[in-house]
């Protein structure tokens, strides 16, 4: 197994001919590392996450996950890798309204053909004990993000990608959620990249990186 969870090798991505968003970007994320990525709007943070997750392909360069080049994989193979190694947390939660909390959290286990035994335990861990039979519309925003965190971690992924996970939450709830994310990531031994505009959110990471036209660099604090 590679000691590097993620390697970005000289990747470039443009949204129109001659208009590059990411230009020869290179970066390595070690296993177990938790980094926050900050940067101005439109600089390509979300594009970067898509490239890492294999949801988009770079114009040039390579993205390696655990030593495997996801960027040159077929869609099915990339999906298979994503299903096993990745966990996602979104700003807008994206909890399926017609599934119970238990069912929502169980989705990655089902996709990976694993036992559902851990679901209740995971719900307990994120502070939603006894709520497995509830439907999403019965929950607050903070609670919904807790479900999303449980769903992101339930199958013990190696890399968590979080895109503005606290963007829809009030400061107190955001603080709680950020602590929960860090705790859960660390206790699961996962690596994580959190994309955010929030300094409070970024501060929970091991390292803070700034994405700009010049590339991905450590942020001076």
């Amino acid at each position: 197994m590679s000691p590097n969870m993620l390697e970005l090798r000289n990747i470039s991505k443009g949204y129109a001919p001659g208009k590059r968003l990411l230009d020869h970007l290179t970066y390595t994320l070690k296993a177990g590392e938790y980094v926050a990525v900050m940067g101005e709007s439109g600089v390509g943070k979300s594009t970067l996450l898509n490239l890492i997750a294999g949801l988009d392909t770079p114009d040039s360069g390579e993205v390696l996950i655990n030593g495997t080049a996801i960027s040159s994989m077929s869609d099915d193979a990339a999906t298979q890798l994503r299903r096993e190694l990745f966990g996602f947390i979104f700003q807008a939660f994206h909890i399926l309204p017609h599934l119970t909390l238990h069912q929502n959290v169980a989705l990655p286990l089902l996709l990976n053909g694993q036992s559902l035994q851990r679901v209740e335990e995971m719900l307990d861990q994120v502070g939603l004990q006894g709520r497995g039979r509830d439907f999403p519309h019965q929950l607050s925003g903070g609670e919904l993000q807790r479900v999303a965190i449980a769903r992101a971690l339930i199958h013990r992924p190696k890399l968590i990608l979080a895109d503005e996970p606290t963007g829809n939450l009030d400061p107190d709830t955001a603080q709680e959620i950020l602590e929960l994310i860090r705790t859960e990531i660390k206790s699961n031994g996962a690596s994580a990249i959190i994309v955010t505009h929030s300094h409070m959110a970024a501060a929970t990471a091991d390292r803070i990186l700034n994405l700009s036209k010049d590339g991905l660099h450590p942020m001076s604090t």
């Binding site: 949801l55 979104f90 017609h98 989705l107 999403p136």
Partner: protein, 852 residues
């Protein structure tokens, strides 16, 4: 002004983005309205033309005098002409005469020949006068001439001066075409000759069909009718012109109403499509509407926004439908005539006239249906609380308010009550209402059925292990039943009606087939080209046929029409040998709910009759009842001893023993001979033997198998238009599923985006969607079978007996229904797949980053 601009922006913006859904909705309304309007135009055109053609034969007479049997003795004519108050009496002999060489078309081989007194007719019905060549006025009175309407000349391919062969019984005669008529309606096929010549040449000496009376001015018609009625006695009927119209209207009324109802099914199905697309559109725009509300859009403005969308769709769709209906009607009448496969309007060529009132009515119906479909979603949109609606969420909870169990149960309960009510003015109005309520109630119950059914399936499959595709499909169907039910409304309505129609038509067809087997037991049927009600075979010819050694048995039938009620068409009277020991050997007796009286229990001089089901409904001829029938020159007492099933005549038929008929009338002639072959004789040999008879070439010989085939072909042709209408309804239903699925896909884009993020392959999402579509349609079909079966019971046991006065036994077209069900599941799954492919092919991944 500004609010109007906002309305316009929102409306155009919505349609620009979802033009496909708007077009499908608009087309569904247009097709529904077009079907209803075109059928109405076709039926009206055919009926009006037929009615006008019938009226044109009676000219400007005030009253008609007819015998209760088809013909009357001409001795009555001078008495009527001299009756006080009569200005002019016009004797008429009207006969349907066979045309040699046209017999291959069993329903259309006769020419209506009207014998008139030129001098009298000139005063009452001048249109019927012949137009002879210049200088040949006497042709009007000649005994070898005939005058033809233009349509008759075209049909017969003859012109003035040609000779026209006619078949009168066993004899052929030839008449010279002396010219046209003063005026005949377009497409009306009639011929006119001198009444004396007609009586002689067509073998009806001394007989008249009717005497038309023109009364003196200022006469009280009611008083006159009363006096004349007393004078004429029971054997005659006095018919006013409006009775004649009612009679013509009654002939086809049930058929027309039933066809119109069927045509409205497409519109009914279309209303579900409108509802589902509007409801889903509202659901999709829930957060947009919430935002508008937050920004200051008033509740009533939002309500109007959605209602106006419906109104615009309704207006455009209904306008298009009316235009399309008119074009369809013109096209159909041009290429297929106005009868729509039925035999209610023979010998006419109707033309379509734009009926503005009907056009407005159908426009209004289309608009109302669209408005009803839009109103509930509009109310829901207006009622939604903005704060809650802004939160991404549970669309199913919105739809939940639309599912009202007590309403569904009340509809079903009311439907049950309505099935117990009798016909209204001869029409199964309550039967149709019961069908509509059954459908509405059944569809309203769908969410509960969906939840229950898929929860059950989930529990069963949970035990046997389940993959993510099955899990997600079942979870959505179990937990979001209201959204699923919306997609199902149209398909459930159209499929259940299709099932009902299929069961009804199959039951009818199988019953008719079995009935034909009973009523056509002989090997061969022989008839002559009878003229009017005349029996074509006299005793000598009957004996000659019976004496042929190739036959083991020969039964002779005498049929004639009898007028029981001047408002209704004639009743057919059959005189034939009926098995005295057990009449069921001869007649298709219906003993379900009807008593059968044994002939042994009758008093010595009591004459038995067996009546068709229509006689029980229309004339209350119950078994055991003593009735008086005008047969021959007098009326006679009979006792109803049984009821038989008759699918040939919806206005009634009576069967009696041939020897009773011959004894009371002295008429020994018969119309038809049923022949059973000796065991070693082939049908060809028997036909050859018949052809060898002196009159053999004039015989019309039919094999019973051919008669059955022809009858079933006529049956299928009559129902072809119903299949077409059903197909249209199903297509609209499927379009509804397609539109609903497409709309749902749009509301689920974020779901697909999230699923793709967490590792679900495109193929798996598509499989999930196909599974949802297939399972949902499968349930719809299962439920459609149940509803359809319920509706078919109403059609078979209520609508049919009340409309056409016949009953039938239920039969299921299982293989056909299974094929249709499979096709529909495949189509629905395919539709879901296509809609899904489109939904996940684009930037589905980006949707997870959108706020709304």
């Amino acid at each position: 002004m500004n609010s109007m601009r906002l309305f316009r922006w929102l409306l155009i913006g919505e349609w620009r983005k979802h033009i496909g859904q708007a077009l499908v909705t608009l087309l569904a309304i247009a097709i529904g309205v077009a079907m209803g309007f075109s059928i109405h135009l076709l039926n009206s055109a055919a009926f009006n033309e037929f009615s006008a053609a019938s009226k044109s034969l009676s000219g400007q007479s005030d009253l008609l005098v007819r015998a209760k049997t088809t013909l009357m003795d001409e001795a009555i004519y001078p008495q009527l002409a001299a009756f006080e108050g009569v200005a002019v009496a016009n004797p008429v002999l009207e006969l349907d005469v066979a045309i040699p060489g046209k017999q291959h078309n069993r329903n259309d081989y006769k020419l209506k020949v009207i014998g008139i007194d030129m001098f009298r007719a000139a005063q009452i019905a001048p249109d019927l006068l012949g137009l002879p060549e210049e200088g040949k006025v006497m042709d009007r009175l000649a005994d070898d001439t005939i005058f033809l309407s233009p349509a008759a000349m075209t049909w017969l391919a003859v012109k003035e001066g040609d000779h026209l062969p006619l078949q009168a019984g066993l004899q052929q005669l030839t008449l010279r075409v002396a010219g046209g008529l003063v005026r005949a309606r377009s497409g009306q096929r009639i011929a006119v000759m001198d009444i004396g010549a007609a009586q002689w040449r067509l073998q009806h000496l001394g007989k008249l069909s009717r005497v038309e009376l023109k009364l003196k001015d200022g006469l009280n018609h009611e008083v006159f009718k009363s006096k004349l009625s007393k004078f004429l006695g029971e054997s005659y009927t006095i018919v006013e012109l409006e009775n004649q119209e009612t009679r013509v209207a009654n002939m086809s009324r049930a058929y027309r109403v039933n066809l119109n109802m069927l045509a409205l099914v497409a519109l009914f199905t279309g209303s579900f499509l409108v509802f589902s697309t509007q409801a889903l559109s509202v659901s999709r725009r829930r957060s947009q509407f919430a935002l508008l509300r937050v920004l200051g859009f008033a509740r009533h403005q939002l309500l109007w926004q959605v209602v106006i969308e419906g109104i615009v769709l309704g207006v455009l769709g209904s306008l298009l439908g009316v235009l399309l209906g008119y074009v369809i009607a013109i096209t159909v009448i041009e290429f297929f005539g106005g009868s729509l496969g039925s035999s209610f309007f023979p010998g006419i060529k109707p033309e379509i006239y734009y009926d503005a009132v009907a056009a407005w009515v159908f426009f209004a119906v289309g608009l109302t249906v669209t408005l009803l479909g839009s109103l509930v979603p509009a109310l829901e949109a207006a009622r939604a609380k903005p704060a809650l609606a802004l939160k991404s969420g549970n669309q199913n909870a919105i739809m939940k308010k639309l599912a009202i169990p007590w309403f569904a149960v009340a509809c079903l309960f009311l439907a049950g009550i309505l099935t117990q009510l009798p016909a209204l003015n001869g029409l199964p109005v309550f039967g149709y209402l019961a069908i509509a309520l059954l459908l509405i109630g059944g569809i309203a119950l769908m969410p509960y059925w969906t939840t229950w059914f898929f929860a059950f399936i989930s529990n069963v499959t949970k035990r046997s292990g389940i993959n993510v595709v099955e899990f997600l499909s079942l979870a959505r169907l179990t937990n979001a039943p209201n959204q699923a039910s919306i997609a199902l409304g149209g398909i459930l309505a159209s499929f259940s009606l299709m099932v009902a129609m299929a069961i009804m038509v199959t039951s009818f067809r199988v019953s008719v087939d079995q009935w034909l087997e009973r009523v056509l037991p002989a090997d061969l049927y022989v008839r002559t080209a009878a003229v009017g009600d005349q029996g074509g075979f006299d005793l000598t010819t009957q004996q000659a046929i019976a004496a042929l050694p190739v036959f083991s048995q020969a039964d002779f039938f005498r049929a004639q029409q009898v007028l029981f009620d001047s408002n209704r068409p004639e009743v057919m009277l059959f005189a034939r040998p009926i098995d005295r020991s057990d009449p069921r050997n001869t007649l298709p007796i219906n003993s379900d709910g009807h008593e059968v009286i044994s002939l042994d229990s009758l008093a010595e001089n009591t004459m038995p009759i067996w009546v068709s089901e229509a006689m029980v409904d229309l004339y209350d001829y119950q078994v055991g009842k003593h009735v008086v029938l005008p047969i021959g020159d007098e009326s006679h007492d009979f006792k109803v001893v049984g009821v038989w099933r008759d699918y040939g005549r919806q206005f009634g038929a009576v069967q009696m023993q041939l020897d009773d008929y011959q004894r009371i009338t002295g008429d020994t002639s018969v119309n038809t001979v049923a022949l059973w072959l000796q065991s070693a004789v082939s049908q060809e040999q028997a036909i050859e033997a018949l052809r060898q008879l002196p009159f053999g070439t004039e015989l019309e010989i039919s094999r019973s198998s051919d008669l059955r085939t022809i009858s079933l072909e006529i049956f299928d042709r009559s129902f072809a238009v119903t299949y077409l209408l059903e197909l249209v309804a199903v297509i609209i239903g499927l379009s509804g599923v397609a539109a609903s699925f497409s709309a749902q896909m749009l509301t689920r884009m974020k779901e697909f985006g999230m699923l793709r993020h967490i590792g679900m392959k495109k193929r798996e999402i598509l499989m999930m969607l196909a599974a949802e579509g297939g399972l949902l349609t499968g349930l719809g079909i299962l439920f459609g079978f149940l509803l359809g079966w319920g509706i078919s019971l109403i059609l078979i046991f209520i609508v049919n007996p009340q409309s056409f006065h016949w009953t039938m036994q239920i039969h299921f077209p299982l293989s056909w229904l299974l094929i249709m069900a499979t096709l529909m599941i495949a189509t629905a799954a395919g539709t879901a797949l296509l809609a899904g492919r489109r939904a996940i092919s684009g930037h589905v991944i980006q949707t997870v980053r959108e706020d709304w």
